[in-house]
């Protein structure tokens, strides 16, 4: 089912290149010099590029994805999976068999150190450490029965991002961009803002064997402040851009001269184009990252006016701006902080403080701009944490039952889907494996996970390998 969108009409592109033989320079330079040059000029030849918009397999509500990734693994029973029985039986033995493979010996049942409150019309319990997100609970589809195959950070992180905990495979952002293309030809289709480099690093956003067009483009890294994060080799606009434009004009003139000699050289034509896109990106990306024109109210909604929420707030606001501009898949990462093997109370309180307001800000902002309807938001970590204690006040990794939530983009709102056992350890009802989550996300985007394939080394590959079911109970 490999779609051959490379079989493009070289001639039409060539015609355009020849028509504009007056020089890209004059065109692009005009854009450069005008004060209000649009950030997103449609590419003339956009419909021919591998990133051009493709029709989904069927019509669907979601057009793009924003993934808020909590690296380290937030605990489900301290956030969105309220377990009164766990609170009652604090200090008692866990009565069931534990998973065959565990990271370490864990102790007795440990109640959440946090109080839970009911929110919204749905009356869903949310931990006190998420007061802002709690208020939006009527918009959320909280999936309490997520499970994956691996309890180690690296493997679990790969599985969440790529569907495989063993092999290097394309990231879900790459699959989605491959399936749908990008709505903005001046921007990459898949952006990841301040990703972490540990626990699988660039493999979390790599396109693996899919063509390079579908690879995630990182903006900064987790060790860099969000306000300073940049795409590699993008030079912000400054005086020397005029000189650069002149150099490009000379280079393109020489390239076009060669093209006249070998008009069938498709790759030369693409090379010429790639430089023009790069030149446009150099204007469009920094413009989108510039949040100085946002109102104080907006900045405050994301918590950008407060130190503790500023960094994740900027990431979330950038995500909205890129979503608005047509980027297909945007990931924001709250860096590797949630791994609370000890002192969970302070760890989770602090981390939640950093992300709660920005998360809620993003959801509210998407909603008020009408973007939430066609944006699928996903929140969660690479796994959850044990209901039993590790070292008395911490929790170990738990991949057999944990929580992620989705919002917008055609998911059912104001529900808890699936459930863990009474202590929040094992997914027990309506279990959702990561393969199922992927299948469902693709479905929400109008893609059939069994038909979105790519042939590599003689085999058709899928995001969901040979597994995954669309979970209809999560769909609106």
């Amino acid at each position: 089912m490999n779609r051959h969108w490379h079989a493009q009409t070289a001639s039409s592109r060539r015609e355009w290149l020849q028509q504009s033989s007056a020089g890209f320079g004059s065109l692009a330079l005009a854009g450069l010099l005008s004060a209000d040059s649009p950030a997103t000029t449609a590419s003339v030849s956009g419909e021919e590029s591998p990133l051009s918009v493709k029709s989904p397999h069927f019509s669907a509500q979601a057009k793009r994805v924003i993934f808020m990734f909590m690296h380290g693994g937030p605990s489900q029973v301290d956030t969105f999976d309220y377990k009164p029985e766990l609170q009652k039986r604090h200090g008692q033995e866990f009565p069931y068999a534990k998973p065959r493979i565990v990271s370490s010996e864990t102790g007795k049942l440990m109640a959440s150190p946090f109080r839970f409150r009911q929110f919204g019309q749905a009356g869903i319990h949310v931990s006190e450490i998420f007061p802002h997100t709690g208020q939006l609970v009527d918009d959320l589809c909280i999936v309490n029965s997520i499970h994956g195959s691996n309890s180690r950070h690296g493997s679990a992180l790969l599985e969440l991002h790529t569907g495989s905990d063993t092999f290097i495979r394309p990231s879900m952002g790459s699959w989605i961009t491959y399936g749908l293309g990008s709505e903005n030809q001046d921007l990459p289709g898949f952006l990841t803002i301040c990703p972490t480099l540990g626990h699988s690093g660039s493999n979390a956003w790599s396109s693996a064997f899919l063509p390079a067009h579908y690879a995630g483009t990182p903006i900064g890294f987790s060790s860099i402040k969000a306000e300073e994060a940049k795409i590699g080799y993008i030079r912000p606009p400054h005086d020397s851009q005029l000189r650069q434009r002149r150099e490009l004009d000379l280079m393109q003139t020489l390239n076009r001269h060669r093209l006249e000699d070998s008009p069938e050289d498709d790759r030369l034509a693409s090379r010429i184009e790639s430089f023009e896109l790069a030149f446009r990106m150099q204007t469009s990306v920094p413009a989108l990252q510039d949040i100085s024109q946002e109102t104080d109210a907006t900045l405050s909604m994301y918590g950008i006016d407060q130190d503790v929420t500023k960094n994740f707030g900027i990431q979330c606001l950038m995500a909205r701006r890129f979503a608005e501009a047509g980027v297909r898949f945007i990931q924001v990462t709250h860096s590797y902080k949630w791994d609370a093997h000890g002192d969970l109370a302070n760890n989770h309180r602090r981390n939640a403080l950093e992300v709660d307001k920005p998360m809620a800000g993003l959801l509210r902002d998407l909603k008020q701009r009408g973007l939430l309807d066609d944006t699928l938001v996903l929140w969660g970590g690479e796994f959850g944490r044990t209901a039993t204690s590790q070292g008395g006040n911490g929790r170990d990794h738990n991949n057999v039952g944990y929580t992620m939530f989705l919002a917008g983009g055609g998911v059912k709102q104001g529900i808890r889907f699936g459930a863990t056992d009474e202590f929040g350890y094992f997914a027990a009802e309506d279990k959702v494996h990561l393969h199922d989550l992927h299948a469902t996300m693709l479905h929400l985007l109008g893609l059939d996970h069994e038909r979105l394939t790519y042939r590599f080394a003689g085999r058709d590959f899928r995001l969901t390998d040979v597994k995954g079911n669309v979970i209809h109970g999560m769909l609106a």
Partner: protein, 810 residues
């Protein structure tokens, strides 16, 4: 990795079989109403015609009675004794069916009732499991499988007859020309000498010819000028750096683990250097195979230097360098995953076979039964790759004392002895008490000159200790207790099936198992079997790889997969001829193979297109022209450094700053460690954080073998050319170099074109560049003017280095 399920089979069966006999309120009706729908919706996805997981089909009564690898699934009249019920009741931890949600107790009740009532299945078809065995002949493999092209013994095919025989320069050309003529195409004209010299340099050594080297070739009017050029390039040490790097793609070479715990492999660079040396020494490819798989098992022979043996151990770094889930909590799974990675890489690298598919079930497409997978896996399970299987398992390492080590050590010991005796003397002089505790107290309270003297001796001792000559560490595999593995149902070691004995693939060795007779792992036997002159795949696969790396596309378009799902050769007889010549005429010499290919008229064609051929064969599958290629990432960087006079040609060694097992973090965001001008092959390759300059130009993910790099054209490449420090510095250095020449502007432009493109600029190009340069040529020589002039020429250099031509080989 497995295609466990057929996605269509379920609905097809539903459609075909939903014709129940409605009239009788009997066991038949019960089956049609309650049992068949259950089987079809929950079982047949994995246990029916197309996919019979674990050898079990469930789409006929007979198939259930016969059962699968665990035995009969059904005992009519005895639900509780039927494996089917055990599975659906989750009676065993590792036999819990179906996948996904457990059947409801109501559904299980229906199944039980049906079985207890005699398991009536009206008009049941008599399907049973179709194994890979050909039931008619009792043979394990079908005739079709056995006659697959790639499994046929090598034979020397006759040269085809061609009309335009005078075009041909060697045998290769006959095969190419025959197909061109059959398609009414003619080969492109020969390329000019300038094109050829640039092509040959980049092809064989990955570096540009200098203007002097170009002139040398142009001025050599002898008939064997081309051959001389090839011979010279093949004897350049840069050849091993260029072609060794090709092999490193296949070896999924990297300096760190990647995957879950990205730890540094401090010593693996020795394997990389071994590859470069092996290419330069033209080590026969069969030996190259054997040493990488089992070099450690060829003992040091009488009179052989220890270094020669150590080199063979280093070679097995090929097996160690793969990515591993070193932190996996499950030790057995971890060990088997390592085995799987090695087995898969080995079989794909040398034989172009995707054996890995057979870990969970018989290979769906190629004649590789699951049994054969575990028979081969036993060999690697008998090999030690990880020192132990704990969390964050260390990769096995060897420690050697090389020639001269003992004398170095003796020298050091003598040195140390001197300092030590001085200390002892001092201690006795001072009447230091013998008791250790009292001693240290005493020494702390020494005052004045005595304390100073004591400190001086102590620091000298520490200095000497730090200089102890280290042993030579090698990251490579070892032998361990040989074991045979059982077949593992669904790839799960908790469900062992039939035992296997270590041996090779039966599609090649014959169906009667011939277990290895060895008290070792069997790696050496495996290596020699793969590298045998009669192996049908090994010579074909490597010859095809060489062709691929040279022409950009293999004769088999999927160089890593020669199986059923791989592509068929465009020129099967050419491939056979080359493979046969490689083994029987060239004694597995890769240099000889390079020369064969490059001496052909096919190689020496020009790359320009002609419109008629473009219509018939736009992809140039028939080789009617030389394919223009974009340089690989490493060549782009090396070329950039070379033309700007910056390339440091120092060979070998490690540039990595991390120590063994140290974690790699954040390297992709910091280019400081790539801030050197050594060739790209020596830059550290960190998995999950590869040097961005390399990834931008399609450097393949080093976690997986890849003999077929892509050539993408994306905007980040343009950004890199526009804004990277590499191009900025190179264009400035090149501009300064050009300006040191006493020459006119036109001559300088000529020189630039010679350096960058090995050709003379056209008038149009001369004019464009000249027009670009403002009026700098004044007599004024103030610094400002000089800077301006450099800046102007730098712009020209950057523009030219950004052209498509600069990074292409014509």
């Amino acid at each position: 990795m497995s295609d466990r399920r057929c996605w269509f089979v379920c609905s097809v069966f539903l459609f075909l079989m939903a014709s129940p006999a409605m009239a009788q309120p009997t066991a038949e009706t019960f089956f049609e109403q309650h049992v068949r729908p259950l089987l079809s919706s929950r079982c047949w996805d994995c246990h029916a015609e197309d996919v019979a997981e674990s050898g079990l089909r469930m789409d006929s009564r007979q198939a259930l009675l016969v059962g699968g690898e665990r035995g009969p699934a059904l005992k009519p009249g005895d639900a509780q004794g039927s494996l089917l019920i055990l599975a659906v009741e989750h009676g065993e931890a590792d036999l819990q069916m179906p996948e996904g949600d457990k059947l409801s107790s109501e559904e299980i009740g229906m199944l039980k009732k049906w079985i207890d009532d005699g398991a009536i299945w009206p008009n049941s078809p008599d399907y049973v499991v179709a194994t890979s065995k050909d039931t008619a002949t009792g043979s394990l493999f079908t005739d079709e499988q056995k006659s697959f092209w790639a499994f046929q013994p090598l034979a020397l095919p006759p040269l085809p007859t061609v009309q335009n025989a005078q075009w041909a320069r060697n045998e290769i050309d006959y095969f190419v020309l025959a197909r061109l003529e059959a398609n009414r195409l003619s080969p492109a004209a020969p390329a000019d000498k300038r094109t050829l010299v640039r092509r040959a340099y980049f092809d064989l050594i990955g570096l540009p010819p200098s203007p002097q080297q170009i002139a040398e070739f142009l001025n050599d009017n002898s008939p064997d000028a081309w051959e001389t050029l090839i011979d010279n390039l093949l004897s350049s040490p840069a050849y091993g750096e260029r072609w060794g790097r090709h092999w490193l793609d296949v070896a999924r070479y990297a300096d760190s683990n990647g995957l879950d715990e990205n730890i540094a492999f401090e010593f693996i660079y020795k394997y990389r250097d071994w590859v470069i040396r092996a290419f330069n020494a033209d080590m026969p490819f069969n030996q190259f195979v054997v040493e990488q798989l089992a070099g450690d098992l060829i003992p040091q022979s009488e009179g052989e230097a220890i270094e020669a043996y150590v080199d063979r151990v280093i070679a097995t770094g090929f097996l160690s360098v793969g990515p591993k889930m070193v932190a996996d909590d499950d030790p057995i799974k971890k060990a088997l995953d390592v085995v799987d990675e090695q087995l898969n890489t080995t079989s794909q690298a040398f034989m172009g076979l995707t054996i890995g598919c057979a870990r969970c079930h018989d290979h769906k497409f190629d004649p590789i039964p699951q049994w054969d997978y575990y028979a081969m896996a036993g060999i690697f399970r008998s090999t030690k790759t990880l020192e132990h299987l704990g969390v964050v398992a260390p990769i096995a390492e060897h420690s050697f004392q090389l020639t001269g080590y003992q004398s170095q050590l003796a020298e050091w010991e003598a040195q140390r002895h001197l300092v030590q005796s001085e200390l002892d003397e001092f201690l006795s002089e001072m009447n230091v008490p013998e008791d250790e505790k009292k001693q240290s107290e005493f020494l702390q309270h020494l005052a004045g000159a005595a304390q100073e003297r004591y400190q001086a001796i102590k620091s000298r001792l520490e200095e000497v200790d730090a200089q102890k000559p280290p042993e030579f560490i090698v990251m490579a595999v070892k032998e361990q207790e040989p074991v045979d593995l059982p077949v593992m149902l669904r790839g799960n070691y908790l469900t062992p099936g039939e035992p296997t004995r270590r041996q090779f693939l039966r599609i090649f060795t014959g169906e009667q198992p011939t277990p290895l007779e060895t008290d070792q792992s069997g790696r050496l036997q495996l290596a020699r079997w793969i590298a045998d002159d009669t192996h049908p795949l090994t010579p074909r696969v490597i010859v095809n790889r060489i062709w691929r790396w040279r022409f950009g596309r293999g004769i088999v378009g999927t160089p890593d997969n020669f199986g059923l799902l791989g592509e068929r050769p465009t020129h099967p007889q050419l491939l056979n001829w080359l493979a046969h010549a490689f083994v029987h005429q060239d004694a597995w010499s890769m240099k000889a193979m390079h020369k064969r290919m490059m001496m052909s008229a096919t190689y020496q064609m020009q790359s320009a297109a002609n419109s008629q051929a473009m219509e018939v064969d736009p992809e140039n599958r028939l080789w009617w022209r030389f394919p223009q290629r974009r340089m690989e990432a490493e060549v782009i960087r090396d070329n950039t450094l070379a033309v700007s006079g910056q390339l440091d040609r120092t060979m070998y060694g490690s540039l990595m700053t991390q120590k063994d097992k140290q974690y790699i973090t954040g390297t992709a965001s910091s280019v400081s460690q790539y801030d050197n001008t050594r060739r790209s092959v020596y830059q550290p390759i960190y998995r999950s954080a590869v040097y961005d300059l390399l990834t931008a130009f399609d450097f393949p993910d080093p976690a997986t073998l890849n003999g077929d790099r892509k050539e993408s054209i994306v905007a980040p490449q343009a950004l890199l050319m526009m804004n990277s420090k590499l191009i900025d510095q190179a264009s400035q250095k090149l501009a300064r170099r050009i300006l040191t020449e006493e020459a006119s502007t036109a001559e300088r432009i000529d020189l630039l074109y010679e350096i960058l493109f090995a050709r003379i600029p056209h008038d149009f190009e001369q004019q464009q560049v000249e027009a670009f340069l403002p009026e700098f040529a004044s007599a004024d020589s103030t610094d400002a003017k000089v800077d301006q002039q450099v800046a102007a020429w730098q712009s020209v250099c950057r523009a030219l280095m950004s052209t498509h031509e600069f990074i292409c080989i014509d």
